[in-house]
């Protein structure tokens, strides 16, 4: 085996990608698949398998976006194949345990978070998805547009609508 081959080994960057993104992809896929963690695991695994075949240069600089895009396609494939699109549209019941308590504020904060998560769970599915990609995964409108195949304007509109609604409902719930 010659060193050049090894250097260009397409999979070399995969382990760190797995370490960095596996959990957030898993969460994304689980949601897309209506809470089916086993299937989500398969989807994420497929995603990384695809990544291994990818020349590094093709994904460098937008690795997260690439992973989410592929993961989404895989998840939708699974749903399509199994005719389970309906489950996808049901909002997930949210139960949140305060993962990182901050003394003094923990109780209040976790209540706030739980309330807001419930509201997010009531949004239309496409709005939930873009809201999560934006605020949970930190993607820009443009990146979300490429991941979800909505236009940038559409992404902006979905986020705007969702944020306005959440803001109003959230404010109404606050004492």
């Amino acid at each position: 085996m010659n060193p050049e081959d090894a250097h260009e080994n397409p999979g070399d960057f995969v382990p760190s990608a797995v370490a960095a993104h596996q959990a957030s992809l898993q969460r994304y896929a689980t949601r897309l698949l209506g809470g089916d963690t086993d299937r989500a695991r398969d989807v994420v695994q497929d995603t990384f398998v695809k990544l291994m075949a990818q020349p590094r240069a093709d994904v460098e600089g937008h690795l997260a976006e690439w992973l989410f895009t592929v993961c989404r396609h895989r998840a939708l494939d699974v749903l399509r194949k199994e005719g389970r699109m309906k489950r996808f549209s049901e909002g997930e019941a949210e139960r949140v345990t305060a993962a990182e308590p901050r003394p003094g504020r923990a109780l209040e904060a976790s209540e706030t978070h739980a309330a807001l998560l419930r509201l997010i769970g009531c949004l239309p599915v496409n709005q939930q998805e873009v809201i999560r990609l934006k605020f949970q995964n930190g993607f820009s409108y443009k990146e979300i547009s490429r991941i979800t195949e909505h236009s940038v304007t559409n992404v902006g509109f979905l986020i705007h609508t969702a944020v306005q609604r959440l803001k109003a409902e959230f404010a109404a719930q606050q004492p």
């Binding site: 999979g11 070399d12 760190s16 960095a20 959990a23 075949a53 949140v96 978070h113 409108y141 803001k167």
Partner: protein, 755 residues
């Protein structure tokens, strides 16, 4: 969008306001909405509200528990063309909760396999899967098995070359799984070079697996092996020759391979140092350039001082620093020098003054040493502009030790005490979740700020990217025109959630730096400091990088030099030196290896360079081989002239000039909020001064540079010894305001003992 219609009424509920608040607008649309927001308090309120709500959303969503993933195997055998021919060695393959690293394989049969048991070892699966990996290794399985057996606490390391790399895992470090990309790239490089070396050294194919024994106590630890001096060029294959000399001393070597350099210290169970996964870039020392071929030398200034504090940490911990942790320009620039500030005439306010000096180079008396000293304009608390500061604080679990988060809090308390009542402070934290711990607050409400600082505690993993975005959003929302707008990032640099790739983080910062918000990066703690990542973040973010290891250091940065830390007086400061070929044969810049620019970059305002803060000094040293010095290694041609063939010179030699000048220093810089650069020029004439007659500042700076060369084991260190460094430094002690130079002398003594 009709951009002509500047009277278009925009309502707070306009989707573009939402997009604007989230930083998603560009071009004309951005200009239009920005103008509308500036003009309309109602829109400003809407934007602020959206910012706040976005924070709440981020905070909430980031707290959604991540699913456990450690039970998920990657595909056992990818059904892809990837592995077969190309070799999967070097890929870290995760099988259930085992990490196997198979690397370095050649026909001769060199195999390294490292198995690490992670904390959550729940699966019984891997036992039968391990052979699948073995098959991927070309070498004898016996070697691989042998390696696998050596589990923690003994550390098994694989081959190594001139580069800086190590294959090091520790069972107690689940964190290793999420190593930084810098470390990963280094490992890739290492893998490559291992192969190369193995191919050149097939004779000793056995015994390539070395166990590094844990030292009993830090004081008894052998000095860590220093990475070998990289030879010029690719560095591949240079390890064998270069490695041997040190290898004997460091005792972690077999067959000429230098093992486990201290970028990831091997002695990972040694309590005083914490399990190490520090990573550094490894540039080679700047070499000599012939004036005839390259009359111009161009570089970006650097006022970072992190390397000095980091080196000090190693030395006080009883170890020599790894070679690549030593950046000479940062050592030299750590010390305040008494250069006169620029004269402040109202007519022609220049942000800095330059002070040039030349004398003989103490470590090579035939050579001349040129010092370029730059002093920035000074501010006082009263005269500096108002500040809009966002503290971006890493509160992840890795910050949970005494010299990290508690020191961060203490440092910022010091800074808050120095602020003016009209300054603003906000605090953004980031861990697994990112959040606003303190909305923008006037510094007059000091107790509120201090209480928010006190309330922070460390937990969770580190999602740097989210925090960076939020911090910049808040800084932009409170932007003070003409003032100090700065994000102050305090972290150990261990970004392990979200965007962890160094390039991606750097891209993010580069993007955010366009907002004219400056960034200061402060590294804290030890053990998993990602030095290279932090430096490049500061570099791209128009900012400085400092390393805080003690309260003393915090006082220097946040109290004594608070104005310089906060107020930038010029940005993109570049230096270009033109050498006179009638006086100079060859030159080399000492340090600044990662700050070199192309000669065209000097006049190109699009090329980013270093910033200079109020009152800061910047010092650069050139070692020069004057005309008339022959038979000097620095000017010896790579190839002798041919005896039997006449070679015409490609270009006629430039006519000798009779200018008495040795060189001219040109400095380009931009105002902190400007886009167009200005230039200043300073010629230098060599009066033939001896080193002994040079100024104390000159001699002290030379001593620091020589010390750096010794620590780096630079090929250019000449006759310098630690004893000489001590003498030069003591001569140049001066009045030593702050006692920094006295401390330096202690460190030199320490390093001499350890060497």
């Amino acid at each position: 969008m009709n951009t002509h219609d500047s009277h278009e009424t925009i309502f707070p509920a306009d989707p573009r306001i939402t997009a604007y608040a989230f930083g998603e607008l560009e071009g004309d649309e951005l200009a239009l909405i920005e103008a509308a927001v500036q003009a309309d308090p109602a829109l400003q309120a809407a934007v602020a509200e959206l910012h706040g709500f976005a924070d709440t959303l981020s905070l909430t969503l980031l707290r959604e528990p991540l699913p456990p993933v450690d039970a998920q195997p990657l595909p056992e055998q990818p059904d892809l063309p990837i592995a077969a021919g190309k070799g999967i060695g070097g890929i870290l393959t995760k099988l259930s909760s085992f990490y196997y690293l198979a690397g370095g394989l050649a026909a001769a049969g060199f195999a390294v396999l490292i198995a690490v048991r992670t904390e959550s070892d729940r699966s019984a699966k891997p036992a039968h899967e391990a052979p699948a990996i073995m098959e991927l290794v070309d070498g004898p399985a016996a070697n691989a098995v042998a390696a696998k057996k050596t589990e923690a606490p003994t550390t098994t390391v694989g081959g190594k070359d001139a580069g800086l790399a190590t294959v090091h895992f520790d069972a107690k470090l689940a964190k290793q799984a999420s190593e930084s990309s810098a470390a990963r790239e280094r490992r890739d490089a290492d893998y490559l070079s291992v192969q190369k070396v193995v191919e050149t050294d097939k004779v000793n194919a056995s015994n390539r697996l070395i166990e590094v024994e844990r030292p009993v106590a830090p004081a008894m630890a052998p000095p860590p092996p220093m990475p070998v001096q990289a030879s010029s060029g690719s560095g591949l294959g240079a390890g064998k020759a270069g490695g041997t000399a040190r290898a004997v001393r460091s005792q972690v070597v077999a067959d000429g391979f230098l093992m486990a350099p201290s970028a990831q210290p091997s002695f990972s169970d040694t309590p005083a140092y914490e399990p190490g996964s520090e990573s550094y870039d490894h540039p080679a020392d700047n070499s000599y350039h012939s004036v005839e071929a390259e009359p111009l030398s161009t570089f970006s200034i650097d006022v970072d001082t992190a390397s000095y504090a980091n080196v000090r940490r190693f030395l006080t911990g009883g170890r020599l620093p790894p070679r690549d942790a030593v950046r000479i320009e940062e050592l030299v620039n750590y010390f305040p020098y008494r250069y006169a500030p620029p004269a402040m005439t109202a007519k022609n306010p220049v942000p800095f003054a330059a002070h040039l000096e030349v004398a003989s180079a103490p470590w090579a008396p035939a050579h001349r040493l040129v010092r370029i000293g730059i002093k920035g304009r000074e501010f006082t608390t009263a005269t500096r502009p108002a500040a809009n500061l966002v503290f971006l604080l890493d509160v992840s679990g890795s910050m949970n030790s005494a010299n990290k988060l508690p020191l961060v809090k203490e440092s910022l308390r010091l800074l808050v005490e120095r602020l003016r009542p009209d300054d603003h402070v906000a605090i953004v934290t980031y861990a697994g979740s990112s959040g606003l711990a303190l909305p923008p607050t006037l510094a007059s409400s000091k107790s509120e700020i201090l209480a928010a600082l006190d309330n922070l505690n460390a937990s969770g993993s580190t999602n740097g990217a989210m925090g960076i975005r939020l911090a910049y959003d808040i800084a932009k929302a409170g932007f003070v025109t003409g003032g100090i707008n700065r994000v102050i990032l305090c972290t150990d640099g261990d970004f392990n959630v979200g965007v962890t790739n160094r390039e991606e983080l750097v891209d993010l910062i580069t993007e955010k730096a366009k907002s004219r918000v400056f960034l200061s990066v402060f590294g804290f703690g030890m053990g998993n400091l990602k030095d290279a990542t932090l430096e490049s973040l500061a570099d791209k973010g128009n900012g400085a990088y400092g390393y805080i290891d003690t309260r003393r250091e915090a006082e220097k940065v946040f109290v004594e030099q608070a104005e310089g830390t906060l107020a930038t007086i010029a940005k993109d400061v570049k230096i270009q030196v033109e050498f006179n070929p009638a006086r100079v044969q060859a030159y080399r810049l000492i340090g600044y290896e990662n700050r070199m620019l192309k000669k065209e970059d000097f006049n190109n305002d699009a090329v980013d360079a270093g910033e200079i803060g109020a009152g800061h000094t910047v010092t650069a040293l050139y070692e020069i081989v004057p005309v008339g010095v022959d038979d000097d290694e620095a000017v010896r041609p790579a190839v002798d002239a041919l005896k039997y063939q006449k070679t015409e010179p490609v270009a006629p030699k430039p006519k000798a000039n009779d200018s008495p000048e040795l060189l001219t220093v040109k400095i380009r810089y931009k105002a902190p909020e400007g886009d167009v650069s200005a230039k200043q020029e300073f010629p230098l004439i060599d009066t033939g001064m001896k080193f002994e007659k040079a100024s104390g500042e000159f001699r002290f700076a030379s001593a620091v540079a020589a010390w750096g060369m010794l620590l780096r084991d630079s090929p250019h260190k000449g006759s310098a010894t630690f004893d000489q460094v001590l003498n030069w430094a003591e001569d140049g002690l001066g009045d030593d305001d702050g006692g920094y130079r006295a401390e330096f002398i202690q460190l030199v003594r320490r390093s001499a003992e350890l060497k």
